[in-house]
């Protein structure tokens, strides 16, 4: 009987197969980008007074996307006046329950239009669609949901206190998580009864402007949120404005220092979330494969444009070589390329300026004698790209171990004892985040106690939740965002009437 059977087709069975991922592009058709945008003031898009515009480009194609208005001091003044009016007449007097309704509406709209926001974020900012779809947009919606829940329960957040909003808050956000940082800023401000003038970063204004359209759709009262686009001059006009009651800034340490100088002179409440140079500490008894994932995620997530990125790997000397081998192995599977491809892990560098900064620091690393490794992945011809990079043989005194690179560049250092790990981890001007990898719980607790960092992750990294406060020590800033602590930055508390 057997000889009646045709021989099997073996042409494919004994060949090693190279699994290629075909391009899997997320469609752009869901997004419509206007030729130009005005400033969002008093619930309407208005032209800037001096008519100045600038161009926003897609960092992955260098294509010009749209003309964006550049807000002058006069425009900022209009925005602050609109916010003041909205605060006095409507928002500051509205019940928490009614404010919550608007916040819930915003959150739900963000979820409904999630794909639109995710695609636009990837086009304008260069981050992989996998991240904007799975992290940025869902977390932004989560922040609005979370703070919507607080809006009518503030007396439980701050018991036995009289609670009043600050008034008009000026907020300046960076280009690394444009929509998410907008949510971190706007949601707590609105929940507590403040009105907002927000300046998005000049390289990534589009999702903020789409968000402004969303606010029109949900009928948020005019002036409660105003969005003024522009570069540094717009930001300083907002910081210097006399009628702003509180400032919140996320961005570089150098700009943060200027803002603090200005706010200090006027006694203005301020929260700053600035740079970082986080230590990611891996002990020899760690779950090594998951630690590799954590380290990869810690530095290559969002091309390393993350203030809390784990940019310094401190690995115990006894496992350093094998751990670095594992890392390099894993790096070879990272896919760099079109942010809209669903298989892309590392997208485009946000701007040519940032690419220049990263390149300069990497050159400094090579010049100082650290050993560079980059996987040999192909990069697209157009756009701003940088290969995932690790430096080994890095010394504590190297610039790449001290300065924030804000790119996909990891500096690897070693340590021998937990004490040495702590000493090296804390030897930095920054203090935003840290990661600890060990299977020994007591070591995690001891380390967490010793590390000067606002956020410490154990056996994981880059986990965010609206209920969890986020912020730094030292030159990483002060104040917290998220949770009760984040809420408290937007309220003035005093003793209740009649209390002694």
């Amino acid at each position: 009987m057997a000889d009646e059977i045709e021989p099997a087709n073996l042409s494919l069975t004994n060949v090693t197969f190279d699994l290629e991922y075909a391009p899997a592009l997320e469609s752009k058709s869901i997004v419509s980008i206007d030729k130009e945008y005005g400033l969002f003031i008093g619930g309407k898009f208005v032209e800037p007074k001096d008519g100045k515009k600038f161009v926003t480009v897609s960092p992955s194609t260098e294509e010009k996307l749209s003309q964006i208005s550049s807000a002058s001091a006069a425009d900022v003044d209009r925005a602050v006046k609109a916010a003041r009016k909205a605060h006095t007449e409507i928002w500051g007097r509205m019940s928490g329950r009614d404010r919550a309704k608007y916040l819930f509406r915003i959150a739900r709209q963000l979820q409904e239009r999630a794909r639109e926001f995710a695609v636009l974020e990837s086009i304008d900012g260069g981050k992989p669609i996998r991240e904007s779809r799975d992290v940025d947009v869902p977390l932004a919606a989560a922040h609005f949901f979370y703070h919507a829940g607080w809006a009518d329960k503030l007396e439980y957040a701050f018991p036995d206190r009289r609670i009043a909003p600050k008034g008009v808050v000026g907020q300046i956000i960076p280009w690394n998580f444009p929509l998410l940082m907008l949510a971190w800023k706007i949601a707590p401000a609105l929940a507590t009864g403040n009105t907002v003038v927000l300046k998005p970063a000049e390289t990534t204004p589009l999702t903020a402007l789409l968000f402004a359209q969303l606010l029109q759709d949900v009928d948020l009262p005019p002036g409660v949120v105003n969005i003024v686009t522009g570069a540094g001059a717009t930001g300083s006009a907002l910081v210097e404005h006399k009628d702003v009651d509180k400032l919140a800034f996320t961005g570089s340490t150098s700009v943060g220092k200027q803002i603090q100088r200005s706010a200090a002179a006027r006694g203005l409440p301020l929260t700053l979330e600035l740079g970082g140079k986080a230590a990611h500490i891996v002990f020899e008894d760690a779950a090594l494969d998951q630690a590799v994932e954590g380290v990869i995620n810690g530095i290559y997530f969002n091309q390393g444009h993350v203030c809390c990125a784990g940019s310094r790997l401190l690995v115990q000397e006894s496992i350093a070589d094998s751990f670095i081998d594992r890392l390099k192995n894993r790096m070879s599977t990272l896919r760099v390329g079109d942010p809209l491809d669903k298989n892309t892990d590392v997208g485009a560098i946000n701007s040519s300026e940032q690419l220049g900064r990263i390149t300069a620091l990497v050159e400094a690393g090579v010049a100082e004698g650290a050993e560079i490794y980059q996987p040999s992945c192909a990069l697209p011809a157009k756009g701003y790209w940088f290969r995932p990079t690790i430096f080994t043989n890095v010394q504590q005194s190297h610039r790449i171990a001290r300065e924030e690179i804000f790119g996909p560049v990891l500096s690897v250092l070693t340590f021998r004892t937990p004490e040495e790990a702590v000493a090296k981890a804390n030897d930095t001007q920054y203090g935003l985040s840290a990661g600890i990898w060990t299977e020994k719980g007591s070591k995690i607790l001891w380390m967490a106690d010793q590390l000067d960092a606002g956020v410490i992750w154990a056996n994981t990294f880059n986990q965010f939740d609206p209920a969890s406060p986020f912020g730094g020590y030292k030159e990483s800033g002060f104040g917290r965002e998220g949770g009760l602590q984040g809420l408290s930055a937007y309220v003035s508390l005093s003793s209740p009437r009649g209390a002694s």
């Binding site: 090693t16 075909a22 008894d285 779950a287 494969d289």
Partner: protein
């Protein structure tokens, strides 16, 4: 018949000496070449998070066709029922050799997988086709028989013509910490296999934690497994992406530490083409594409094949057909 590549010297070097320490609850296996094996702990949350990322890889058009062909060629087409008959096995073999008669360009599956009693029928219908005959043996699926019975079971299956043997470890011994027993039983069954390839089922659904799965993986490889396999398909929890990842990482560590290459078989509950290529992505990104061959990767399944055929029809015609357009077996 195509013979699988074999690790040089493995059979010659089989030692009867027990290489695990006398205190058997101490887990310190050594490879055959005497390398003390290091087993890294596993973090459950991180492992599961990584396993999820493979399922978000998007495979389309040309990649999809290649992935489907590869998945077909890696299948151990399985029937493990009390009601199996030579007739059923004949039908299964026909399907294994020519999955879709209307599409002769498709590869055959890697093997048919049957109970020992069905081995003669399977051999009869696959001889000369290149499709291997795998037999579960050694008191599958519980493993709860004496070593003599289990060894005899394997010897009979091999004598009847099976060239691959799937056995299951004694979970009871493993969970009670008697690693030496588990090591010895695998080693003895490896000897009983003779020239046949040995796949060792860990029955991960009964091991309780990823740490245990990683440990059992190392133990099985050290004791002589040519493949390590997730499940029998006979308990509630079958193969899953995190389990497969955990075992693939152990295989990679074993290769790094000893230079010896071991294969992975996932089994149980894999019914859709999509699940199959999630596993292919997992293998490609964890072990590398050199593992993407039927010599080193297998999927134990029965209904999966038809879903792959339906996907091929969809690629060819642009339309989804239905189960009536592929043969049941």
């Amino acid at each position: 018949m195509v013979t699988l590549p074999r690790r040089a010297g493995r059979l010659e070097e089989v030692s009867t000496e027990v290489v695990t320490p006398a205190a058997s609850a101490v887990f310190a296996p050594r490879s055959r070449s005497g390398v003390a094996l290091r087993v890294t702990p596993v973090d459950e949350v991180g492992l599961e998070a990584r396993a999820r990322t493979f399922t978000t890889r998007s495979i389309k058009t040309t990649s999809k066709r290649a992935a489907i062909n590869l998945a077909i060629s890696c299948i151990d087409l399985t029937t493990l029922e009390g009601m199996d008959t030579p007739g059923k096995v004949a039908a299964l073999c026909r399907k294994a050799v020519r999955p879709d008669p209307a599409n002769p360009g498709l590869p055959s599956v890697a093997a048919v997988c049957v109970y020992p009693q069905m081995v003669p029928a399977a051999v009869l219908h696959t001889t000369g086709t290149g499709v291997h005959v795998a037999s579960v043996a050694g008191a599958f699926p519980s493993g709860q028989s004496s070593m003599a019975v289990r060894v005899a079971d394997i010897e009979q299956a091999v004598a009847d013509g099976a060239d691959e043997i799937d056995i299951v470890i004694s979970r009871g011994a493993f969970l009670s910490g008697d690693y030496r027993y588990v090591f010895n039983e695998i080693e003895a069954q490896k000897v009983a296999c003779g020239p046949a390839h040995l796949k060792v089922i860990l029955e991960t659904g009964e091991l309780g934690s990823y740490d245990q799965i990683r440990k059992a993986s190392m133990l099985a490889m050290a004791a002589g497994a040519d493949f390590i396999k997730t499940s029998t398909g006979k308990v509630a929890q079958n193969s899953s992406m995190p389990v497969a990842l955990c075992m693939a990482e152990a295989i990679r560590d074993y290769a790094d530490q000893t230079g010896e290459i071991v294969g992975l078989k996932v089994a149980g509950g894999i019914r859709t083409a999509k699940q199959a290529w999630h596993y292919l992505v997992l293998i490609a990104e964890t072990l590398g594409t050199q593992w993407l061959t039927p010599d080193l990767f297998r999927i134990g399944a029965s209904s999966l094949l038809n879903d792959l055929l339906l996907q091929i029809q969809k690629l060819d015609t642009g339309r989804y057909s239905g189960p009536n357009y592929v043969s049941v077996d």
